[in-house]
Every structure is written in C-alpha cells, then in structure tokens.
Symmetry: C2
Subunit: 245 residues, 2 copies
C-alpha cells in the first residue's frame, strides 16, 4: 500500500487533504478513489485512509483507522559514522534507515578523507535527508530519521555517551569485546549509540577517548568491514538482540 | 596487512612464490622486502609471510606462520536470493560476503524481473565471482564464497532444505514467526540457508511450497526491506546469534 509522510497533509474531522508532492505522487501512481493509502504522522502513528478524490495538486481521503506504525522499532539506535567519501555515505544513510536506525550523525575525525566545507556539507545534508525520507517511506518506517553532521569529535562522543548502550566499533587492539557480549552486558535498553569509523578507521587516541567516555570498544567478528557496511550490520545486530527482527 | 588468495601462489619448503595478478598487485602497492603479507589458501588457512623480493610478474616471500583464518565465521550460511535487477545484485554479493555468507545462490521465481538467458547469465556470474573474490580479499575472509544461479525454484528449495536451519523471509501472511524466534528454535546449527525474494517478493504459492519443504517462514520486523538489503540483514542476524559478531 502507498505510504506518505504527513508533510503536505492536513487531517481534520476524519478527512485528509493531501497537497504538494504527495498529491502529485498519488496522480503518478494512477490511484483511483476507493484505493487505500497510509499517511504517517512521522511520530509513529499511521492513518489508514481511503482515497475520495485526486486532482492536480490536491487529493482527499477519508480516515478509516488510526494505528501505531508497526515498522518503527522499539529501540532508538543512533548511528554515529565517520563521514565517508561520495556514494558510500548515500548508501550508509539508505541502508541504516531500512535497518531501523533512529538517526544518523556523520562526524569528522582524524582519518576522514571527506572534509567538506560548510556550504558543501549543507548540500550534502540536504541530499542525505532526501535519501532518508525516501528510505523511510519505502520501508514503512513511522518517522523520518534525521541526518546531521558534527565536525567536532569530542562533541560527537558527548552526544553518543548519552545513550543507554554505547558501542564503539574498533577494528583492532586489546580491550575490545565481541559486539554480542557488549550488547548482552548492556542489559535491557531503549536507546543505543553505534559509533563507526571512516575509511581509514579510528586512531588509537580516538579509541582511548571513546573508552574514557564510557563507550564499549567492540569487535565485529574479525572481518574487516567497509566503513559503509559496518553500521548497517551493527544496527541489524542491535535490532535482532532487542527483538526487532 | 595485504591479503591474497592462493590462486597465483606456490608454497613449498617455507617459501611462497607469488605470480600473476597478485605479484602485480604487490608492485602496485609498492611493497618492499621485509614487509608482511598474508596468503590465504581459500580453505580457511592463512600463511603469514615476509616479502623477500618483488620483480615484474613474480614476488617471493618467506612463510613465517601458518594459522587458521580468523575472518571465517564458524557457521556456513548460504544465501538464496531471487535474482534482482542490475546493480542490486552486485551490491548483494559484495555485502553478503562482507557480512560472512558462505555461498550465494541466485534463483529464478515468478516475480523475478531479471531473466537473463544462458549466455548473459554466464557473464553475470563471472562478474559476481570477481566481486565475491574482491570482497573476500578485502574483508579478510578465509575462503572465496561461490556465486551460482539456479533457474528452477523447486531445485533451489531442494538445496536450501538441506541446511540445518532453513529460513524463508516472507513479507506478509499468517504463520510467519519473527526471525529471532526462528533462529532460536533452530537450536545450535553449523549450516543455515537464508531465502529471500526478488523486487516483487514471493507469491503465496511459492511461500506455501517453501513451508511444505520444511523451511521456516520468517518476518523481519515489519519493515519492508529492499531485496538487496534483506539478505545482508538476515546474514548479520545469524552471525550475531551464532557468536560470530
């Protein structure tokens, strides 16, 4: 069934007025009165609606049912990822949203190759947000994950350590625990932070700082994962462990 | 550390003679005598070697240590995937190999959009095998996963039901269990089959056949996953569950 986020929609007295891009999308899909659509408020609630009319720029639907969105996982996982180059970042956003990530924060660190200036980062973020919205819509998520950028590594650590379970993926060194052990030791949690590095990984100093901030240094099975693959696998593991798969 | 598969290498009396592409690769990497490389036999054993000489077309190294490859998971997961279109298939191969899949079998089914003829499938498979080899090398796997094609759906089911844990990912319908429940009910296993559909998913008849063959119909958290994403997430979940993450 077609799903839309609320952006262009006004719901009042059991009627949904759909405007802008979404109304256009309904026309492109050649949907007819009588067909059902789901309109999601972006806060985890779905409005199941039946189309009443579709005209250029505006469609109208009748609200049949208001239900919690089933595609929204019960755990909020924020992905903190060292900003990768080019298409890897697009991929990371799309797949982490599908896998169920709550938000994505790209950050800058010592071995980041991509170091966009303010203007170019702004453009990148616009692009990432569009990818996140499309992926959320397509996969039936109940909210659109936010994508942000944090240029300060220490500030990123400050943010990530607020989660109940803070996991720092590190590909080498002593003192790491398997990711499974880290997740199981965290007990029951509703918020998690997954921190992954850029193409060149983290420096030892960065890993030490993360540990000092209370994050758990984790290994991921001794395979070397690409920087855009690691967060997708880590989010999947957390979803599995918390009963969301 | 640079890793190579054995293909062009001859190991004898503690010396490794590296020829062909791998010798060329060593030159491109500008590796010098005294640097270490790992040569993997593709059967799960790593030869840690120190470069003695590097010339056009041939390099020589001394074997320092013979160790089991740590990047090879302890469970053999074969991915059976309805053949997707275009780049989605490339992605699926690369990411499933990184995630730890043992082998990948693409198959044909009712809603497959991609239906290559014999000659074009042969070319596709050559390409997939190259992608699998590169991903295995890069991620430190101990063997190169095979990529095959099975045009007969029933034959694919026959193959997949031989695994100790057979999981059939189905995006709708009654009688499915959450993937986590399916994996936990399977108890301890060393082989698993993960079956995922093409872009349009499986038909009801196909799902019924799978169930009749003893595969467990699984849901994956009520999110609609793209056909190239679902197997990566499912492999990650199995790796997590079996202590390989």
């Amino acid at each position: 069934m077609a799903r839309f986020f609320m952006a262009g929609t006004n719901i009042k007295d059991g009627r949904a007025i759909i405007r802008g891009q979404d109304a256009e999308h309904i026309r492109v899909l050649r949907m007819r009165p009588g067909e059902d659509v789901v309109i999601c408020d972006g806060q985890g609630t779905d409005y199941r609606c039946r189309l009443v009319s579709s005209a250029p720029g505006e469609a109208e639907a009748e609200v049949l049912e208001v239900v919690p969105c089933r595609g929204e996982p019960g755990v909020a996982v924020t992905v903190y990822a060292g900003l990768p180059k080019g298409e890897r970042a697009d991929f990371l956003v799309q797949k982490c949203v599908e896998a169920g990530a709550s938000d994505i924060v790209f950050f800058n660190c010592e071995r980041c190759v991509a170091r966009p200036d303010g203007r170019s980062m702004e453009k990148k973020l616009e692009r990432f947000c569009r990818i996140a919205e499309a992926a959320a819509q397509q996969s039936g998520r109940g909210r659109i994950p936010e994508v942000r950028y944090e240029h300060n590594y220490v500030e990123m650590l400050n943010l990530s350590m607020k989660a109940e379970a803070g996991l720092f993926m590190y590909e080498k060194g002593e003192g790491r625990v398997p990711m499974k052990q880290a997740i199981e030791s965290a007990g029951s949690f509703k918020t998690a932070a997954i921190v992954t590095g850029p193409e060149g990984g983290f420096t030892e100093a960065e890993a030490r700082m993360a540990k000092a901030c209370g994050l758990t240094l984790c290994s991921m099975g001794e395979r070397i994962l690409r920087c855009e693959t690691a967060p997708v696998i880590a989010v999947s593991a957390v979803m599995y462990a918390t009963g969301n798969l």
